[in-house]
C-alpha cells in the first residue's frame, strides 16, 4: 500500500510546519515517515490515525535535533573541504597567476591615473562573474536550505571588498593610511573567498546532480 500524492503532501507539510527547510533532510524524513505510515495502514489503521501515531515520534524537538545534527556534519565537512581545497589551490598555477595579477593590479591602482583606471576596469571584468553566481545560489536556495544559502552569502560578502574597493581606488577621498589597510584586507580575503566560492559551487552542483529528479 503506497501513499497518494495528496497524503504525501500532508506529511511534507508537517515537516515544513516544523521548519525542516533543507530538502536533503526533508525528502529523507518524508520517505521514512511514509514507510512507517504505510506499515501501520497495512495493519488496518487509517491514514489519519497512522499519521497521528507517526507524528508522535517526529516532534518539533526531535526534528530540530536531526536538523542541527545535519548542520553540524555539513559545517564540519565544508570546513574540512575548504582546507583541502585551499591546499590544492596553493600549488595550482592558474590560481597563483590570478592572485598575482590581482596583487599587481592593486599595487598599480594605489594612485589614481588614467592607466590605473583601465587596470581597474580589468579588475572589474575579472571579478564580475562571481557576482552573477549569487543569482544561481538564491534560485537554488530551497534545495540547499537556509544554512547552505547563508554559507554562500558569507562567501559573497567576503568577495564584496574586491568590488567595493574599486571606487575607493579611484577616489581621492581616502587617505593613504586607510588605503593601505583596505588594500591589505582585500588582498588577504581574496584567495580565501575564491576558494570558498569554488567549493560551494562544487557542492551545490553535486547536490543538484543527486536531486536531478526534482527538476524533471
Amino acid at each position: 500500500m503506497s501513499l497518494s500524492k495528496e497524503e504525501l503532501q500532508v506529511v511534507d507539510q508537517h515537516l515544513k510546519d516544523r521548519k525542516v527547510e533543507n530538502w536533503d533532510v526533508r525528502y529523507e524524513i518524508v520517505d521514512h515517515m511514509a514507510c512507517l505510515i504505510e506499515g501501520l495502514m497495512e495493519e488496518g489503521v487509517g491514514f489519519e490515525d497512522a499519521l497521528a501515531e507517526v507524528k508522535k515520534t517526529f516532534t518539533f524537538r526531535y526534528l530540530l535535533k536531526m536538523k542541527n545534527e545535519k548542520q553540524k556534519v555539513l559545517s564540519k565537512y565544508l570546513r574540512r573541504s575548504f582546507v583541502n581545497e585551499f591546499k590544492r589551490k596553493v600549488i595550482d598555477l592558474n590560481f597563483l597567476i590570478k592572485i598575482s595579477l590581482l596583487f599587481f593590479v592593486a599595487i598599480l591602482l594605489y594612485k589614481y591615473t588614467l592607466v590605473n583606471t583601465l587596470f581597474g576596469m580589468l579588475l572589474l571584468i575579472l571579478y564580475s562573474p562571481m557576482f552573477f553566481q549569487i543569482k544561481g545560489m538564491i534560485t537554488n536556495y530551497r534545495l540547499y536550505g537556509k544554512s547552505m544559502l547563508m554559507n554562500s552569502v558569507w562567501g559573497q560578502i567576503l568577495s564584496l571588498p574586491s568590488m567595493i574597493m574599486f571606487p575607493f581606488y579611484i577616489s581621492e577621498r581616502f587617505t593613504d593610511k586607510y588605503m593601505v589597510v583596505i588594500l591589505i584586507l582585500l588582498l588577504c580575503l581574496t584567495p580565501i573567498m575564491l576558494v570558498w566560492n569554488n567549493l560551494l559551487l562544487k557542492e551545490m552542483k553535486k547536490l543538484k546532480e543527486q536531486y536531478f529528479l526534482i527538476y524533471e
Binding site: 529523507e28 520517505d31 521514512h32 511514509a34 545534527e69 556534519v73 529528479l213
Partner: protein, 120 residues
Amino acid sequence: MFVVEFETMSNSKLYKGSLATIILKLLSQQDKMYGYEITQKVKGLTKGELNITEGALYPALHKLEADGVLEVEVMRVDNRLRKYYKLTEKGEKETVSKLAELEEYIKNMQVLFNPKFGLE
C-alpha cells in the same frame, strides 16, 4: 522482550559506538539501502531487540556520507524521492578495518569477562 533503543536506553551507549560499523556491515552485504530499510533490517536480524531510532540513524548516515565512506543515489519510488546509500571504494576498505576492529574488541571483552580466565 528487552529492546535497546539507541537514543533512550542508558546501555545504548555501548551500541551507539558500533552504529557506524553496523551500517557499514549491512551495506557491504547489500548493494544499496535506504534509512527505513536499515532500521527494519536491524530489527529483523536482532528479532526486535535492537531498535535504531531515526534520530541516531540519519546523523550517522550523514556523517559517513560527509566522510566519503558512503555515496548517495536518489530515486523516485511510490510518488516520492528515496535516498539510497551505498559504500564507496573508501567505504569498502573502512568496513574491513571497522569489522576487524570490532572483532578484536569482542575478543578482548570475552577474555576480560570470561569467568574462567577473566578479571575474576
